[in-house]
Amino acid sequence: MTTMSDPQQGSFRLSMLLNDTRYRSYTFQFIALVLLIALMAFLGVNLMRNLAEAGLNISYDFLGVPAGYDINQTLIDYNSQSSNLRAAMVGIINTLLVAFLACLTATVIGVIAGVARLSKNWLVSKLMSVYVEIFRNIPVLIWILMIYTLMTAVLPAPNAFRGDNATSSMLFDAFAFTNRGVYIPAPVWGPGSMMVVATFILSIIAVVFYRRYAVKLLFETGKLLPTGWPTLAILIVPTLLMFFIMGSPIGLDLPALKGFNFRGGIQIGAPLIALWLALSVYTGAFIAENVRAGIQAIPKGQTEAAASLGLRPKRVMNLVILPQALRVIIPPLISQYLNITKNSSLAIAVGYADITATLGGITLNQTGRAIECVLLLMLFYLTISLSISAIMNVYNKNVSLKER
């Protein structure tokens, strides 16, 4: 039995591919797919012809060839005879280093500025909005170059620290700010220092257990244990004791002026500092806005309800406001971290050897392997971005409001 609305059987006409909504979607997708394949084929054929014409091929052999250039700031062993792959590894580690440092400081700056912007103190809140507006509205590249100029053109040369009438002096005899970079003390690990470190790690674990125990006790008996001072005590006292028992095994190697330059300590190059500071203050301004929006997103009724339950202001903040505000703050915060990682590629402008400067800069120019280098570069950033957004999605699923 057929009704009027049933499609007529066996009467498929070619025009239905375009006019019948049941088939039209297939037509469009087919056309899109054909266009895509045609585009790919066009690009591929062009690539083949261009490579053949230039006598090139796609090959990753250059990664094993000695790089032939020096990198001044490395965390792993590297010299000019190391391979290009090793140079790229140095670059990756440097990218991750500056991104990690900048994420930390940007978060600190952003949280402070965001909270201060909501302060009832008129002067402080205005000062913070001036900070946010100035740093948000000027390109990060200009900030990087400005701070780099500050590091290299305004800070004194090492020889300004020399002689009886030195024009510059070290901070606490431990930190030297020169135009060749900042020198900070380096820790020296003597025998027995492992014991101290182990004690410290054990104290951290002990603190975690103590806090858990305090919460459990609170829930079971209603007894409130203090957490602030005991935490500090557990963290510091055993480590200090162990430090002196082992005979002060951890010392500091202070930088000192020898000849024309500073020796000893750790040298942090001007490019790293410029990039780190610029990314921190620039992204800090964005994070400040996120933090402010997150705190303002919590209705005032939440504070009032918590107060009427008898919670003290500090507990209102810790138990009621922050957990809800974090749900709003963390997703944009993570995407700011992603932005920091991507913006760290501007290192190339100040000569910091990150992955863009090593693989995409010097290696690319020396070997001429443009396609391969850019492809690997994109692959690296894509891996980081996609893995962070995967983590983000899991987090969002976990914190999303459970409504029936």
Binding site: T21, R49, E53, N121, I142, G360, V374, Y381
Partner: protein, 431 residues
């Protein structure tokens, strides 16, 4: 009874007391000071610290700004004039303003052209930004790309006119044919436009002197003008592309959806600088042998792709924020997909995504400075390259960086203030 009761009351005031003025500490500036600056001891400390910070900043900045020198011809003269006093060598701006704004090789007597294009830009975008302006102004907006192209790049006026003509004719043909079917209209329109463009471009070389301005090659664009060109062109091109990508990502057709998702996620996952590397060194490998694009065109393509992925995500947010009833309402009226999107969904979705789009536009405009890394001479490239490297001005850092920062700040702050104003405008209709 009432009498006896009245006698128990010994004293009742029968007139109101005149209102007394509040205590001097609870009114006027004193109250404001107490409440907003000195309400408690920690706040007082904060206030004093903030005052100190402001003092330090201003005491460094103001003498430098006010004591500046504007008329010397190089840095040594400037330092002689200053003679150790605090002050900036702003003469670099007075001497090199043309390079900073227009680049090295833009013809000197043609500076009025980009300036006029810049002024016209405000007329062109005004009706888009402010909905209470007369709609007739949109004609200026439609004509603006052609006028601006002619003004900045020069050449015969006939080239942009014939481009305009072919687009108009293509649109007319589309309007005639779209009644039969959308696909026929689109195909007919594109073909008609191409034919007209082809015919006219055969004719124009013989008339190349008509209303011609001096031609300027793309590689001669530089300075802040280059940032403005890249910003304006890429934002306006990426808007339609972003809408298409967002619709594609929301679409129910799996293949189209997949293409859009891969494109958007790929572009958003890599930094802009790698895309600029592609424009600079890789793109040439993927084009037919012998074709040579200008670098500026390649960069525009890459930045447009970059911006469109971000705009697509913003618009996707707008589309997702619309209640499902809007989609169902459009369908139940019998509108097809194109109609429902054009008439019902997009007007609402775009309206709520405008603030996000403006944010992307500001970010993109700031990112145009990255082209200096692939050795194009935009404002930053101009400062780092020709000006700071010249013997005359080697060492005048803060004046130049301050100028660049100021220009970007004015533009970006202006746009973001507009966005906030618009957000407030849009909020009113929810009450």
């Amino acid at each position: 009874m009432s009498d006896t009761h009245a006698q128990t009351v010994t004293y009742v005031r029968d007139t109101m007391l005149p209102q007394a003025a509040p205590p001097s500490t609870a009114q006027g500036p004193v109250k404001w000071l107490r409440e907003s600056l000195f309400s408690s001891i920690p706040y007082t400390i904060l206030t004093i610290a903030a005052l100190y910070v402001i003092y330090v900043l201003l005491s460094g900045f103001l003498p430098w700004l006010l004591g500046g020198v504007w008329t010397t011809s190089n840095i040594r003269e400037c330092r002689e004039v200053l003679d150790g006093a605090a002050g900036g060598c702003f003469s670099v701006l007075a001497e090199r303003w043309n390079q900073l704004l227009f680049g090295i090789s833009y013809p000197q007597d043609g500076y009025w052209r980009p300036t006029l294009a810049f002024v016209l830009l405000f007329v062109a975008v005004a009706p888009v930004l402010f909905s209470n302006l007369p709609r007739q102004l949109l004609i200026v907006t439609a004509l603006y790309p052609f006028i601006a192209f002619w003004l900045i790049w020069g050449g015969s006026l006939l080239v942009p006119v014939s481009a305009l003509l072919s687009i108009v004719i293509g649109y007319v043909v589309y309007g005639k044919l779209v009644k039969t079917s959308f696909a026929a209209g689109l195909a007919g329109g594109v073909i008609a436009a191409a034919v007209v463009w082809f015919v006219l471009s055969m004719m124009t070389p013989s008339l190349s002197g008509v209303l011609a301005l001096e031609e300027v090659a793309s590689r001669n664009m530089g300075g802040f003008m280059l940032n403005m060109i890249l910003g304006v062109v890429c934002v306006s091109l990426s808007l339609p592309l972003g809408i298409l990508l967002a619709l594609g990502r929301q679409s129910s057709l799996p293949i189209i959806k997949m293409i859009c998702v891969v494109f958007i996620e790929f572009i958003r996952g890599v930094p802009l600088i790698t895309l600029l590397f592609v424009a600079n060194v890789v793109l040439a490998y993927f084009l037919p042998p012998g074709t040579s694009f200008d670098l500026i065109l390649r960069v525009i393509i890459m930045i447009t792709m970059f911006a469109s992925a971000y705009i697509a995500e913003v618009i996707r947010g707008g589309l997702a924020a619309l209640p499902r009833g809007q989609y169902e309402g459009a369908e139940s009226l019998g509108l097809d997909y194109a109609q429902s999107m054009r008439l019902i969904i997009l007007p609402q979705a775009l309206k709520i995504s405008i603030p996000g789009i403006v944010n992307v536009a500001v970010g993109l405009f700031k990112d145009t400075t990255l082209v200096s890394i692939i050795s194009m001479f935009d404002l930053v490239g101009m400062i780092r390259g020709p000006i700071l490297a010249s013997t005359d001005w080697n060492g005048v850092y803060w004046e130049l960086w301050g100028f660049a920062a100021l220009l970007f700040f004015i533009v970006c702050y202006g746009i973001s203030q507009y966005s906030q104003w618009l957000e407030r405008q849009l909020q009113t209709d929810h009450h």
